[in-house]
Amino acid sequence: MTIDVIPFYLFGAIAVGASLLVIAQRSPIYSVLLLIASFGALSGLYVLLDAPFVAVIQIIVYAGAIMVLFLFVVMLLNAPHEEMEEDLAREAGPPRSASTGLKVFGAVLAVLFVVELVWALTRRGGESGAFGGASVTSVGAIGRSLFTDYAFAFEVTSVLILVAMVGAVVLAHREPVGGKAPWGEGAPRSGPGE
């Protein structure tokens, strides 16, 4: 065991531990924050794998954008407000936790899954050896490959993002109460001046 594997075990332990806590936490906000910690550990693992571009993109996209989106949604859906009493009457009650049987099922399933995947992935002796020679991945090489070999996938992905944006806006849209947006020229003015 050389000294090189210490960062791997450290980041791996953080990633696995944080992920376990994510699925075990009661409060969704803590789950989101723990998942950010897990993503940070994965980013460290990517750096160990000589992939600095993917590591930084993981922080920018996953931990910095997608998780912010999750955090916003959790805050908007859990925000305390003064009309709590009337909401409680309509509410279906606080989210139930899974029954013990379901938890046991989940744990057994996970263990079986791990055993099967580990068996399948480490079976052939050739691929389980140490890593090959020099890595080829500079950002320039990735960019060149992305825009030549994978250009079609790149363009399709941009259309996909556009579709997702439009879909998200349409799905989350709510009719304004008075038929007018709260800001803007059509807003009702109260009080002197603006």
């Binding site: 924050l33 950010i36 930084v56």
Partner: protein, 343 residues
């Protein structure tokens, strides 16, 4: 055994940068109040120390002696964690910013050491990544305080930050096209020398719109006027740091000023030629760096006390409908220029 002089120098440099950043926040407190006073034709701090120079120390001591309050319904862990995240992200962003040429500290070292904590070859992306992480300090502060001013301020402030990050990144991409490298040291090295021996070869002359976009996005990212609606006293009490007092408030304060310093340092490295300047030798280039960063910081303070602040919807409309298209156009024009003129 592995404590080579280079390693000791590197560790010493890291410690030096950390302490200097904290000092810079204190200096900025004084500069802000003094410059604001002079702009408003009054005296500013002048009692504490000669010309009020010890005012930051008085401020720090006052903040340390205040009582540390916490709302009863606040989420304890997140309430304590939010200022830590803000301050850590602010200080960590400076780790990849070079502020001087390679120097051997007057021959003490065997090989030259670049004045930079970490020379990463994806430094520009790392800056962007840490800027995305600083959103969490704000939004968690707003949420965990469990008060309406804080929550609104936190959500608005973080929405503003992630909106202006796009223009920030596109302005960075313009410089990236010119420099052909993601490493900040390479970007600065490319700006050495001068055209016709008169005009320095800075990127601001090749990318003026990019510079303006970067500065505007940087001001919006650091929640400074005229984009400081979420923390304006007249609007939302104090936004996301309403419920904080004493050292936690000091950490938010610190984070804001260090973010300003970092944005100024990055703008200097990317657009204003870093440490290259006319009369000094290369190894004393950090003096020029300080001069340029100081000029941009003065500009920051000047903007705050001159311009009225944007209303929140005007702010968001400006970021999305005006600044982002300009940044994209700048990128396209730069790409065309690099392609056809081989800059």
């Amino acid at each position: 055994m592995f404590m080579t002089p280079l390693l000791i120098a590197q560790l010493g440099l890291t410690l030096f940068v950390f302490i200097m950043l904290l000092n810079s926040a204190a200096v900025m407190v004084y500069v802000e109040r003094k410059v604001a006073a002079l702009l408003q034709q009054r005296m500013g701090p002048y009692l504490v120390g000669p010309k009020g120079l010890l005012q930051p120390i008085a401020d720090v001591v006052k903040l340390m002696f205040k009582e540390e309050l916490r709302p009863a319904a606040a989420d304890r862990l997140l309430f304590a964690l939010a200022p830590i995240i803000s301050a850590t992200a602010a200080i960590a962003a400076f780790a990849v910013v070079p502020f001087g040429a390679e120097t051997t500290f007057f021959g003490l070292l065997d090989e030259p050491l670049r004045l930079q904590v970490a020379d990463v070859n994806v430094a520009i992306l790392v800056l962007f990544a840490i800027a995305s992480m600083s959103v969490y300090g704000v939004v968690l502060a707003g949420w965990s305080s469990n008060s309406k001013y804080s929550l609104l301020g936190g959500l608005r402030s973080s929405a503003q930050m992630i909106s202006y990050e796009l223009s920030y990144g596109l302005a960075l991409a313009g410089v990236l096209l010119l420099a052909n490298s993601l490493s900040l040291s390479d970007v600065v090295d490319r700006q050495a020398g001068a055209w016709f021996h008169v005009i320095p070869r800075w990127h601001v002359f090749l990318q003026p719109i990019g510079f303006v976009v970067f500065m505007i996005a940087g001001i919006a990212e650091t929640n400074r006027a005229p984009f400081d609606f979420p923390e304006a006293e007249q609007e939302l009490v104090a936004g996301y740091h309403t419920e904080y007092s004493s050292m936690s408030f000091a950490m938010f304060f610190l984070a804001e000023y260090i973010n300003m310093v970092t944005v100024s340092a990055v703008a200097t490295d990317l657009f204003l030629g870093g440490w290259h300047g006319p009369f000094l030798p290369e190894s004393m280039g950090w003096i020029w760096f300080l001069v340029k960063v100081g000029a941009i910081l003065f500009f920051y303070v000047w903007m705050r006390w001159t311009l009225p602040r944007y209303r929140y919807d005007q702010l968001m409309a400006f970021g999305w409908k005006i600044l982002l298209p300009i940044a994209v156009l700048n990128l396209i024009v730069t790409a065309a220029g690099v392609l056809y003129f081989g800059l």
